[in-house]
């Protein structure tokens, strides 16, 4: 673990100046108080690019303290270059410890996945959000989408779903499946696969969502209803892997990524959550 003296002294602790972090925390509190509502915030420029996790990173940096232990994953992997880059920045500008173990982390910043291991009330999940506005595909103007949220007018989104079903006999929303939060606000859960969506419903942990480029913070507090848009006769469906198993650890009840072997063209499946895969392997004594 780095000591306070060791972190990069040319910059502030956790990069941002204190008033900025305070503002982000205030906006975060508002987001927690109004589940699913997108709170606008100024969004500071960070040394990583807009659209690469700056919303999540600002949340992490504003919350982080010496007792924290941070895990950063990108599409399930701790070792993906962008996850590494974000983790390095957190480490360089603070003195907190980092981990790849889901259970050991107090803050988990993630791009597009929720870990397979159930999170606990002591943990905070920070999701990076590219497009915070669930209505954007049906309404391009922010001014009008704000009115639609104010009036709880989500007819256009439901209609989109209806038209998909009439035309294709099922919903076409893939990742980032729109959800209703506690019966009030329609929310983009960030591009997590549908597989992860139910994990947000009545969860024991706090989920914070940050969109740096679009300058929005929103939240799903613990024990909040999160329900995917669905019609009675066409229930929401998660991705199907037809009971395929991970070729490394053998898990079947996880989100899998499919990969094609370059040499023989065979399709393999592997856990998207690499930390989980390693954990299962370790428990089996396979590593």
């Amino acid at each position: 673990m780095k000591t306070a003296q060791e972190h990069n002294q040319s910059y502030n602790y956790a990069f941002l100046d204190e008033p900025s972090k305070r503002e982000i925390r205030r906006k975060t509190l508002k987001a927690v108080a109004i589940p699913g509502y997108q709170v606008p915030f100024a969004s500071r420029e960070l040394p990583i690019a807009r659209g690469w996790g700056t919303g999540g990173l600002q949340l992490t940096l504003s919350l982080i303290g010496d007792d924290d232990c941070v895990k950063v994953i990108d599409q399930g992997s701790d070792d993906s270059v962008n996850a590494v880059s974000i983790r390095n920045l957190v480490q360089e500008t603070t003195n907190v410890s980092v981990t790849t173990q889901t259970e050991a982390a107090t803050i988990i910043q993630s791009r597009h996945r929720i870990p397979e291991v159930p999170l606990t009330p002591e943990q905070v999940l920070v999701l990076q959000v590219p497009k915070p506005e669930p209505l954007r595909n049906v309404e391009s103007s922010e001014k009008r989408t704000r009115i639609q949220h104010g009036e709880k007018n989500y007819n256009a989104m439901w209609l989109e779903l209806y038209e998909d079903i009439v035309k294709w006999d099922h919903a076409l929303f893939d990742a980032d499946y729109p959800v209703m939060v506690h019966g009030r606000y329609l929310m983009a859960p960030s591009p997590i696969p549908r597989w992860d969506t139910p994990k947000l419903h009545q969860s024991s942990f706090l989920t914070l969502l940050g969109a740096g480029r679009e300058k929005k913070i929103y939240a799903v507090p613990p024990y909040t209803d999160v329900e995917p848009l669905q019609f009675d006769d066409y229930p929401f469906q998660v991705e199907s892997f037809n009971s395929k198993a991970c070729t490394r650890c053998g898990s079947t009840d996880v989100f899998l990524e499919e990969n094609t072997d370059e040499t023989n063209g065979e399709v393999h499946y592997q856990c998207s959550d690499t930390a989980y895969c390693n954990k299962v392997l370790d428990e089996k004594g396979g590593r």
């Binding site: 104010g150 007018n153 007819n155 256009a156 209806y162 009439v166 006769d233």
Partner: protein
């Protein structure tokens, strides 16, 4: 209609201005105001589109509102559908809090709820009332979704039933209204407005721009529907012919004021106000 029956809809002291208003035009007396040219203030240019409108609508009744363009009738109907905010005034719906709550004072969310559940609207321009690139069935479903339907199968069934009623072949249900003629588009709008059986239907100048024969069919359709469903309606038109054919009672609007109010037949037979006389005579 018994005397104790309470109205489905009541409008009280309804005003709508476009502009800031000023000392010269904010006082409203029935007598001639020298600072105003009709409903336009000569001092500040503000237009008082609606001035002190009061009326009731009863269950199953069809109320006509007639007046030339600029008389304030479109502003009124837009406000009743919550697409415009009145400057002041009160609106009571029997179905909402026993008609005790001025719904103009309610939150936007409540107004949207009432619009979705209690009202239906057919716009003068089908391009405003329909999503031209979505299927016609989808357009009807949108109104059903808004009124909390949550079963695709039931919605498809209801859309088929409605399209049949308005004489659009069910086979064309998946086509977007953009491909339809003006008369067909209006009929899709009518099915959409009626989809969730709202107690009150607002009809804009629905026959504008339609051929006479098509107009007659649309009006016929509305009459049939009304007889079948007993829905209350407010019909807006500049055309006394339309008003005579559809409505029981009529308000005559001129420069934002109600100048005459009575049974439609009576108004047609014996118009009292000079403006109404002009309208009636130009019809004959």
């Amino acid at each position: 209609m018994s005397l104790v029956e309470s109205p489905l809809l009541s409008i009280r002291n309804f005003y709508k201005k476009y502009g800031d208003g000023c000392l010269f035009c904010t006082t409203d007396s029935e007598s001639e105001n020298p600072y105003m040219d009709g409903n336009r203030c000569l001092e500040c240019g503000t237009v008082w589109a609606c001035r002190n409108l009061n009326f009731d609508l009863y269950q199953g009744e069809i109320l006509g509102i007639v007046g030339e363009s600029g008389s304030g009738k479109s502003t009124l109907v837009k406000s009743l559908f919550f697409n415009e905010e009145p400057t002041y005034g009160e609106m009571y719906l029997a179905s909402y809090r026993d008609g005790e709550q001025n719904v103009f004072d309610c939150s936007h969310q409540t107004k949207r709820y009432l619009q979705n559940h209690e009202l239906g609207m057919v716009d003068q321009n089908p391009y405003h009332g329909l999503r031209m690139d979505y299927s016609s069935g989808g357009n009807i479903a949108e109104k059903l979704i808004a009124a909390d339907y949550s079963h695709v199968g039931q919605m498809v069934e209801r859309a088929e039933e409605l399209l049949e009623k308005v004489e659009i072949p069910v086979a064309r249900m998946n086509e977007p209204p953009r491909k339809f003629s003006g008369g067909m588009q209006q009929r899709v709008q009518i099915s959409k407005a009626l989809a969730n059986r709202p107690p009150l239907l607002l009809l804009g100048e629905i026959t504008t721009g339609l051929d006479l024969s098509v107009q007659a069919r649309v009006l016929d359709l509305i009459r049939t529907i009304q007889q079948e469903l007993k829905v209350s309606m407010i019909v807006i038109s500049h055309d006394l012919g339309v008003i005579r054919m559809l409505t029981d009672r009529t308000l005559v609007l001129n420069q934002g004021r109600i100048v005459e109010n009575g049974l439609t037949d009576q108004i047609m037979e014996d118009p009292q106000h000079a403006y109404t006389q002009l309208l009636v005579h130009s019809l004959l």
